[in-house]
């Protein structure tokens, strides 16, 4: 799998109605730590099957960022059955993302 780019139009279906846990990466092109994190998430999305990886560009989709009370990026939000179950703010190395996802 790859990381799926989602928008305000597709968020509902891709994230809230997803049939498994979703890791939502809130990011922007001007954010250095986000750009550091992106390839790590791409790599993980190829290696991990138990969660779905999606990316939200906050410049294009500020309503989603607002709905999730995101005021700093990168911000990783774990969503299960349409509900946020955990989040991490700031860059996080690969192993720590694996631990963060766990078996959720």
């Amino acid at each position: 799998m790859a990381v799926i780019e989602v928008t305000e139009k597709t968020f509902e279906n891709e994230v809230k109605k997803a049939d498994k846990t979703v890791l939502v990466d809130f990011n922007a092109g001007w954010c250095g730590p986000c750009r550091m994190l992106k390839p790590v998430l791409e790599q993980l999305s190829e290696e991990t099957g138990n969660v779905k990886f999606v990316s939200v560009d906050i410049d294009e989709n500020d309503e989603i960022a607002d709905e999730y009370d995101v005021t700093s990026i990168p911000c990783l939000v774990l969503v299960k059955d349409g509900v946020e179950i955990d989040r991490h703010v700031g860059f996080i190395p690969k192993d720590a993302i694996v631990d963060f996802i766990g078996d959720r």
Partner: protein, 303 residues
């Protein structure tokens, strides 16, 4: 496996040390807790580094990392917690493994000083921030407060005044350590309100920050409604784990001169975590060069 040089921290100082170490044909291992590049990756545009009139912190970090890696430097993403000297070498213990090196360069930089208020950690990314240029965009037309009186606080307030509806500048004294020219610019901004002789004593939030309590020197408390709080009360060096092998000054910086030597032969300190006057990208890089050169000298004389 024994490394000639172990570098703790792959920021500008550590990565430059790696380049110099590899060019002297020494084996180099960098141990990085987060992402290589360090705090520079938060800088949108670097304008004061020779040769590059404009480069983003991200691109700068990528290029230096690629340069060090192409020369043969290795990197592990682990958090170093201890340096143990034994039998003329050093074991660096991380959250995952032990690494042996003949020399160690501590290039851990610094981290943001927090206010130390309850709920502060929980609200990071939910209204509380330590980086105005990183997070300012979330507060367009909103009300924010900046805490601090140094250059960073003043520049943050100026930057945010361009975006936010109202900016409170909260400072515990009535004069600023930061540049008077910036303070004067702020006085000319209608949407900047000064809250002086005051400290932030509490954060109030539901899902995200809603207001803060501010206490003045007479003990009077007021509640300010804010969407964001930008904390700019300085940085603290990340040396605590290594105090047993590298003597620190009262503020926590490693005591080492321009040669980057600590009180333990074979251990060096490079970058923002060392005692020095000027903490800039270029001085971090220059420390990396000095520390690696000294490490190479040490290695060659202890063969």
């Amino acid at each position: 496996m024994m490394h000639d040089i172990i570098i703790i921290g792959a920021g500008p100082a550590g990565m430059t040390a790696a380049i110099y170490g590899r060019r002297a044909s020494k084996t180099v291992l960098m141990i990085e807790a987060k992402s290589y590049g360090g705090q520079i990756i938060n800088t949108p545009d670097i304008e004061n580094y020779p040769v590059a009139p404009h480069i983003s912190g991200f691109d700068f970090a990528m290029k230096v990392f690629e340069q060090a890696t192409a020369l043969g430097a290795e990197t592990v993403f682990e958090k170093a917690v201890k340096i143990t000297p034994h039998d003329g070498i050093f074991t660096v213990t991380t959250n995952k493994a032990d690494h042996d090196g003949k020399t160690v360069i501590i290039a851990t930089g610094s981290e943001n000083r927090k206010l130390g208020l309850p709920d502060e950690d929980r609200l990071v990314g939910r209204g509380v921030s330590y980086c105005a240029t990183c997070d300012g965009a979330f507060f367009r037309s909103k009300t924010v407060a900046v805490v601090g009186g140094g250059n960073t606080a003043l520049e943050d307030a100026l930057y945010l005044s361009e975006l936010a509806k109202t900016v409170y500048l909260i400072h515990r004294r009535d004069e600023f350590r930061g540049a008077e020219a910036t303070a004067e610019q702020l006085r000319g901004r209608e949407n900047v309100k000064f809250v002086l002789n005051s400290t932030v004593t509490a954060l109030h939030a539901e899902k995200r920050l809603k207001s803060i309590t501010v206490k003045n020197k007479n003990g009077d408390e007021t509640e300010l409604e804010v969407n964001g709080l930008f904390v700019a009360v300085g940085r603290i060096p990340e040396n605590q784990n290594f105090a047993e092998v590298a003597e620190l000054d009262g503020a926590g910086y490693v005591i080492a001169g321009e040669d980057c030597r600590t009180n333990t032969p074979g251990i060096f300190a490079a970058g923002d975590n060392r005692v020095k006057e000027v903490r800039q990208l270029v001085t971090a890089a220059s420390d990396g060069a000095a520390a690696a050169t000294e490490a190479v000298k040490y290695l060659n004389s202890n063969r």
